[in-house]
């Protein structure tokens, strides 16, 4: 889907922002670019839609060199969302979401229908929100609109630069769930930048850890946690918290014993094992009753089963 070969970019300074980097992104993948501040994540992301032109190297999207396409046409085929004030303050929610469809000269009826569809997809009531201005929305609602706008023209690729960076943990968690659901539903290729390792592990199907403009390690979340390539990666994924982060990758549903039962307040099968561990410790029990998403009893989770891992 996206092939980057030996791309480099140096701004004014001596050190390149992106340094002879090659990266291949398969269609339908959820790729997370992670690294500390200044490691070149945004620069790399912005090369994909030509907001930044590399000094050297080549980028192919669907096998076509992006330099052979008009930047505006390229960008209209890719969704783009950034942190915080990314909405146009002088446009209503509907106008904001309709930006790219208008640029593509869709008919008004088609744009209106699409706006309502996207508002519903992101759990915002169209009748209530269509005509609001951004300043009349909470931070979480603004970010939902930002995501809806990126999805508006149904792009194959979604580029997101720390889209949830400015949100409180609860709102951020809800939007992360939302994004995972949309990704699973649509099969779009997503490239998302973050500096939050927990966000990366939760969202990414493929994680690219960057430092000083180069890739230090890439792979599935499990690979980074189980087999950190060097001390830098080990530090980045958090030496003492690796166990907890491994637990965060799996859900209760995968470990529960269906034919067992336990007493107490049941937990949801959708919960991560990390949250389940926390519940074990807080309640001082070694088994928990589990219910499915309709609230029906689904079995029990045993404390000792948290350790079992199929690798």
């Amino acid at each position: 889907m996206i092939e980057m070969t030996q791309v480099s970019k140096t701004f004014g300074g001596a050190r390149p922002a992106v340094d002879d980097l090659s990266l291949s992104i398969a269609a339908g993948e959820f790729v997370v670019l992670i690294g500390s501040s200044g490691s070149g994540k945004s620069t790399l992301l912005r090369m994909i839609n030509r907001l930044v032109e590399p000094d050297r190297g080549e980028i192919l999207v669907n096998g076509v060199d992006i330099r052979r396409q008009r930047p505006e046409d390229l960008r209209r085929r890719m969704g783009y969302a950034i942190q915080s004030i990314g909405l146009f303050p002088h446009w209503t929610v509907a106008q904001n979401i309709g930006t790219v469809p208008r640029l593509l000269k869709w008919t008004k009826a088609r744009i209106d229908a699409r706006v309502d569809e996207l508002l519903a997809l992101l759990h915002l009531d169209p009748a209530e929100f269509r005509h609001r201005y951004p300043h009349q929305l909470s931070g979480g609602q603004q970010q939902r609109v930002g995501v809806a706008r990126a999805l508006a023209a149904d792009p194959d690729v979604l580029l997101m630069d720390e889209p949830f960076g400015a949100l409180d943990p609860v709102t951020r968690g809800a939007l992360q769930e939302e994004l995972l659901r949309i990704h699973a539903l649509s099969g779009k290729t997503v490239v998302l930048v973050t500096h939050d390792i927990d966000e990366a592990l939760q969202l990414g199907s493929h994680i690219v850890l960057m430092n000083q403009g180069r890739i230090v390690q890439q792979g599935r979340p499990l690979d980074l946690l189980r087999r950190p390539a060097n001390a830098f990666v080990h530090d980045f994924v958090g030496r003492t918290e690796i166990g907890l982060r491994l637990l965060a990758l799996d859900r209760v549903a995968g470990r529960l014993r269906p034919n067992e039962a336990a007493v107490g307040e049941p937990i949801s099968a959708d919960l991560s094992l990390r949250e389940a561990l926390s519940t074990f410790v807080a309640r001082r029990v070694d088994r928990l009753p589990v219910v499915d998403d309709q609230g029906r009893p689904a079995g029990a989770l045993f404390f000792s089963d948290l350790l079992e891992r199929q690798l």
């Binding site: 907001l51 146009f88 303050p89 790219v100 201005y133 951004p134 300043h135």
Partner: protein, 257 residues
């Protein structure tokens, strides 16, 4: 009708009524100035003077608006950033020149008449307009520009659909300052023989005729007020999308998720 709109209507009404009444105001002025015989300025029709005044202000402001916003726009584009400091220096210098000095220098060179006056007013009107444009474009959030580009707007689309609408309230404020100041300054143009509302004032001053001065001055003031209110009414709907300044006791619309 908003408060600004009613104020505008009132001010306009006052201007019209006063213009119509002044030619017949002899008895009233006789009460104020009992020992004078020529009480009302009759060399020109007041309505003509107002129109002539508006014409020279309009022409000079239009030119200043075109050039002022044009160069300010250029100085904020990537290719024009280099001459922004030069532009700001030039604007400061043009503002430091008193309009009377410009008239005094221009008249021997160009001759009497509307042209030197037009040049002086034009130079004088440039600064607030260019400054308004610079400040307006500076006030556009960087995130809005970045996203406009990232979503696939061309530079022209970004300018017309995002930058200018967001800058509009500040740009209009600059235009308003420029035009309002020029209405006052244009009265001076009568010193070089241009027909404006300055004529009764100049003739009154040189002939020690206070009623003439009063008539010209009140009309200039009222005209400036009316035009200022017209701009205020025009700019009212522009800020619709802005967050209202929070006032005590008024709940904000933004709710929690």
């Amino acid at each position: 009708m908003s408060r600004v709109q009613s104020a505008l209507a009132l001010s306009l009404l006052a201007l019209i009524v006063l213009t119509g009444w002044l030619p017949h105001a002899g008895p009233a002025f006789a009460l104020l100035f009992p020992d004078r015989d020529r009480l009302i300025y009759r060399q020109d029709d007041f309505a003509d003077l107002i129109l002539a005044h508006l014409a020279i202000v309009g022409a000079s402001s239009l030119l200043a608006a075109l050039l002022g916003s044009g160069v300010a726009l250029a100085a904020t584009r990537r290719w024009g950033l280099a001459f922004r400091p030069l532009l700001e220096t030039l604007l400061a210098v043009s503002q430091a020149l008193p309009p009377v000095a410009v008239l005094a220098v221009a008249t021997p060179l160009i001759g009497f008449g509307p042209l030197p006056a037009l040049i002086a007013l034009f130079l004088y009107g440039l600064l607030p307009i260019a400054q308004g444009m610079l400040a307006g474009l500076d006030s556009v959030p960087e995130g809005a520009r970045e996203v406009a580009r990232g979503l696939g707007m061309t530079p022209a689309q970004t300018l017309w659909q995002v930058e200018l609408p967001l800058a509009a309230p500040v740009v209009l404020a600059g235009l308003r300052t420029s035009v309002t100041i020029n209405i006052g300054t244009a009265a001076l143009a009568s010193t070089v023989g241009v027909k404006t509302l300055g004529l009764p004032i100049i003739i009154g001053l040189s002939g020690f005729n206070t009623p003439y001065v009063l008539q010209g001055a009140v009309l200039v003031g009222l005209l400036a007020l009316t035009v200022d209110l017209a701009f205020a009414a025009l700019s009212e709907p522009l800020g619709r999308w802005r967050a209202p300044q929070p006032s005590p006791g008024e709940p904000t619309l933004a709710g929690a998720d």
